[in-house]
Amino acid sequence: MMLWEEFDRNEIFVIAMLIIIYAIFFWMPKLFPRHITLLFLLIGFSIPILFDFTIGGGMLNFYQVNDSNAYELTDVLTYFNFAPFAYFYIYFYVKFNINKVTFIPYTFGWTVIGMVLEAVNKFMNVIHYQNGYELYYSVIIFIVVLTFTGLFYELVKKKDPTF
């Protein structure tokens, strides 16, 4: 494991994003009990790790995160960048009173946001596709993950008496 191969624009972008995203996270009025906030931060952190180490590395190796296939500190910071997105998704889900009818357009909207952010990450050399992977394949991942997150929130709401 190394800090980074070369400190250039992808590292600067990851650190800048980290500051901006967490500034927004702490600035937003709190909507959930702390254990729910932590739960969705953890979901946002662990799902990209599951995908990156399953299809983004090893045998399939569809993409490389940051400068090399080796594990870098910048990779860990990149995963911390993803963590608040599951929280933001649920935060606005509640704020906009999303229901069965609005769930599909809401999730599509977030899929578009995800695709734009991934394109920016690609431009900033945070992610490099390889072995035939293309940006549009990520639509499937976004739709599945966002749908799961929304449904999981509904389940938590039903099961958690502190809500």
Partner: protein
């Protein structure tokens, strides 16, 4: 062959976990599962890809078995061990559940070498025992932390 064995094992463990009288609630179970998953993925990546202490197969079928073990079987055995520990009031049974989970994790991980999924280069079952004991400890500490946080929030709401 290996994919059938590990898929069936994963299915059995999911079934056992659902059937158990689980004292952890949905949120606690999810947090313990995800933390164990993240730890298992990262540690196995460092051991295999970075330090090259274990060699993993390049055959697709066996590789899927490795993924099943890393991402489903390992966290589930930890969860079942944790669940048994929490359910018990008796310290000896708690310790037995901890040790039992570590032994089962070690046996399953070592069985991957039998099916040609893993080849231990500079690795052996003693290291496995230490690794899985640490993984169980991570799960226990995560549960304790999250359970306390949950209790505090529940008190606030009442």
């Amino acid at each position: 062959m290996s994919i059938v064995v590990y898929f069936t094992l994963a299915w059995l463990l999911i079934g056992c976990f659902i059937a158990m009288n689980n004292k952890m609630n949905l949120m606690e179970s999810t947090v313990v599962f995800l933390v164990t998953l993240v730890a298992s993925i990262n540690i196995s990546w460092i051991l295999i890809e970075e330090m090259e202490l274990i060699q993993v197969t390049e055959q697709a079928e066996e590789y899927i078995s490795y993924l099943l073990n890393r991402s489903v079987i390992t966290p589930l055995i930890v969860m079942i061990g944790m669940s048994l520990m929490i359910r018990s009031e008796n310290g000896v049974f708690k310790a037995s559940s901890y040790v039992g989970a570590v032994v089962l994790l070690t046996v399953v991980n070592n069985s991957l070498t039998y099916f040609g999924v893993f080849e231990f280069v500079n690795w052996n079952f003693i290291y496995d025992i230490i690794y899985f004991a640490v993984l169980m400890l991570i799960a226990v500490l995560t549960y304790k932390f999250y359970h306390n946080l949950y209790d505090k929030e529940a008190v606030k709401q009442t």
